[in-house]
Amino acid sequence: MAVNNKRPNGSFPEGDEFDRFVRRRQRVGKTWHGLFFAATLVGIIALAALLIDVVDDTFGYVAIQSNIPETTLVMEYNKVRMLNAPRTLASEDDQLLAQNIGARPTAIGFFGYRFYQKNAESLTLLSVDGVQPDEQTVESGEYLLARPLFVYTSDAIIAEKNQVAAFLFYYLNNVNQQIRDIGYFPVSEDTLTQAQDAWAEATGLTASTVENLYPVTGDVQAVGSSTVAPITQQMADEFARTEGQNVTLTVNSIGTDAGIRAFCLDREGDILDASRAMGAVDTDACAAKGRQPLEFHIANDGIPVVVSAENDFLTAVTTDQLKQIFTTADNWSDVDPSWPDRPILHFIPSGDSGTLDFFVANVFGTTLEEQDPADLIAMLSANISSGRLRALEADIPLANRTPEDLVALIRAEVVKPQGVGSWTLFESIFKRQEIAAEVAAIPGAELKFYSWLNWNFLTSPQSTDPYKAGINVAIWGSLWITIIAFLFAVPIGVGAAIYLQEYSTGKSRFDQIVETNINNLAGVPSIIYGMLGLAVFVRILAPITSGAIFGYGDPSTTNGRTILSGGLTLGVLILPLVIINAREAIRAVPQALREASFGLGATRWQTIWNHVLPNAVPGILTGVILAVSRAFGETAPLIVVGVATFIVVQPDSPFSKFTSMTAQIYQWTSRPQAEFRHLAAAGIIALLVLLLALNATAIILRNRYARREY
């Protein structure tokens, strides 16, 4: 009757009603079981969301825009050096170059492969770094001056325009017959078959059904590289001639980079001629604009470096020798003493030519790291004001600086990269195409995947430029503060714990006050400790905490807002925690040990020192580490005590100004710019890793000295 007082008639259910009754109770029980479990999951999901949010903000794409792109700076510098070298003839006319070289035994030069073929008998082809250009070495990229050539289109264009589909079919099937005449190297059959397969997949047609496309009429517009344009032009001419189709090709040779922008962003042209493969970023930008690129590798380019057939000392050169030959060397003997002491004559394509760019990029490299210190100094001097140059010379003479230093200097003074956008990890993964399209629309901007947590971040001080800012000073600040808090709280805390556990009877008034007081202190909000620190350590004890009475610092500028104040404040804050944990550990030491010690005539302190403490040490250590990690993660009291808002020098004494990792994270979080949010996230990861290390130490200690069974 009392079992279920909700039943009006007060009787116990029977039969079917009983079954229903039991089932209902089971159902309710299961539902709540599920709910209790769900609540537990909520806690874990919150933790997961928090960690994912932090990681999400630590990595991701950034868009960097430069004053002068590094590649342009390096290439222009080397091009000008080549064109201004003595005895240099630069001409657009490759045939002229070939004839001149052929006629002069001390001449050297390079031009399109086709003109080597035409004049092969009067020229000697040089091997570069031991590799001769031929079909294999060019396709594999083994030859230094080789590159693949591509045409691109997109599925949508092929589907929409029959003439493009038909032209490309012809192109892919016939390019290898024509390519040598045009002056390039053919690709292997495999590569070409792959391209044909890609075409077949995109059109849904095969070689036998391609006739369905005919007859075709209309325009085909090609845009992009001037290197590839002749091939496309030739193929179009042949297409019109042999197939008799009324298709006209218009070619817009604006270069590969401009071509990619026009093709992808402005949706210009049906075919993109490209002398390099599209990167992932380009592909994404294209796809975002509805032009998923379709790639055909149609030929290879290899620039021959040639001398006259009459030249009797040269059949092979190295990259380093090429650099000297075309810039600094006057005579052949300057490069190699075994070569004749006669002046070098250069015959090279003119400055507007893609061939010269290609040679410069491959021989001299495109990054600052690949340049010699002398060249770096020249690049720097040419691009900054004379006043700035004098200032730099006065600091450390340029000639005495390391190459790394010079590269960094050029980046900072000339290239001046600037962040113009940043994205989180999830955005970078799921909105790749939109981001790529957005960045492609910013002139000179470059998209790269960036980890905000990097070596530079860990070793640099604070900066207003988020790409240069680091957390180093804050890490040192946190360590200093934590160590001072440790030195303050541990002796006092353990001492108090020993008193309370071993001496106190718990009956005297003092003992009761201490007891109550510790419990109360543990519940005081941490910011109140900050107020205590501000009033006592920073203000009243300023002469001590500023170091003035020890002769530290300049008395007129120092105040009590120092590491010592911060450390002592946190020391006071973790004191109750240390006391409670240490007491717990001391209490766990069995009474029998004490009694045995007393029984042998030991005094109280001898008992504590020789028997109680050694047994309690693992427990005390674990508690102390937990308290220290609490101090490490505190923010509010430090801000109240007065962290410095912007310091760039590492603290060097307890009387230094300071900031902590947590305070730094707070400052970054409070800034509205997304970049600082990324920095805060990177700082959080660094903080959590350090905390994890601290806690792992505690766990290892606990396991190592696992509680003994008494």
């Binding site: 008193y499 109140i528 900050g530």
Partner: protein
């Protein structure tokens, strides 16, 4: 040294049987010094409390006796705006209460349900995984939760309730995250209380045919009520004192009202989607700059801190009283 002297004096006693052995407690200077220094260490914690109370009272009084400030205004005005010398604690206090309420309405049910699950339902293996995971949550610095509130929870709320309805800084986001922050505290204290209930009570309950749910909710929970109430009160105290989350996510200025009718109209003062600055948040913001001593700002934050201290002290005292008063000894 001491040991040697003990032996030698004993030997002396043995050598002369006519002398009775001296069994008096010896005075040991070293022991006394140690004892006194240990007492001094214990006293440091008392001194901390005395220091806190003195500092807060001293500066709070200095604030309240300033000619610009009146005690009446401090407790009744609805504007806290130091620039125009308006010092009414209500806007700050209101924000603190609001964030704490939101926080507790998250932490209390979830924390309690987690405690019941872990203590009454979970297998030893599940506990071994779930408990340490929740402890990790408890060990994460609060500034990280602030980052989480501003960068994750606020956009989430804006997504759910509309960007126009939810300000970037808002009380709801800070309150929710404070709730998450307190969950491990509430759950672990409650779980301790639940686990302390003796097995015999559960077995008796099962014996008369109660289900696991009925046992947990009607037998174990009431038996552990004192511990759970303590957990709740400690949780509130923690929520009231929480600083970084509100400093980052709740707002950078007090939510002032021209007068009381204005505040009460449409329950404006309770709107969780608007910015508001709590007592702790205000202290952090004001002291974040290089605050000069003896300015009215400097004194005012001590007055706020004093209020905060009293508030948490009362909560702590209640919690311990509840435990003592309602504890059931088995």
């Amino acid at each position: 040294m001491e040991q040697q002297s003990v032996i030698s004096s004993a030997a002396g006693a043995w050598s002369d049987p006519t002398q009775p052995i001296d069994l008096h407690k010896r005075r040991r200077l070293g022991e006394s010094i140690i004892r006194v220094s240990l007492i001094a260490a214990a006293f440091v914690s008392v001194a901390t409390t005395i220091g806190i109370v003195l500092v807060l009272i001293f500066d709070a009084i200095k604030f309240l006796i300033r000619p610009e400030v009146s005690l009446w205004e401090f407790f009744t005005s609805t504007i806290w705006q130091p620039q125009i010398l308006q010092f009414g604690i209500f806007p700050l206090f209101n924000a603190t209460v609001l964030t704490s309420l939101i926080g507790m309405s998250v932490a209390l049910p979830i924390g309690l349900m987690i405690a019941i699950y872990l203590s009454e339902y979970a297998s030893a293996r599940a506990r071994g995984i779930l408990k340490p995971t929740l402890e990790i949550l408890a060990g994460i610095p609060t500034v990280v939760f602030g980052f989480f509130a501003l960068g994750f929870v606020t956009p989430l709320l804006q997504g759910i309730f509309g960007k126009n309805n939810v300000e970037i800084f808002n009380v709801a986001s800070a309150g929710l995250v404070i709730g998450i922050l307190i969950i491990p505290l509430v759950s672990s204290m409650s779980e301790d209380a639940l686990s302390a209930v003796p097995r015999s009570l559960r077995e008796a309950s099962y014996g008369i045919g109660a289900t696991r749910l009925e046992t947990a909710v009607r037998v174990v929970l009431p038996a552990a009520l004192s511990g759970i109430s303590a957990a709740v009160i400690v949780g509130i105290s923690r929520a009231v004192g929480e600083t970084m989350v509100v400093a980052i996510a709740a707002g950078a200025g007090p939510r002032n009202f021209a007068n009381w009718p204005e505040a009460l109209k449409g329950l404006n003062f309770l709107n969780p989607f608007k910015a508001a600055e709590t007592m702790t948040g205000h202290i952090v913001r004001i002291s974040g700059g290089d605050i000069s001593y003896d300015s009215i700002d400097y004194d005012s934050i001590f007055a706020i801190a004093f209020m905060l201290f009293i508030l948490t002290l009362i909560l702590n005292i209640i919690s311990r009283w509840v435990v003592r008063r309602f504890r059931q000894e088995y």
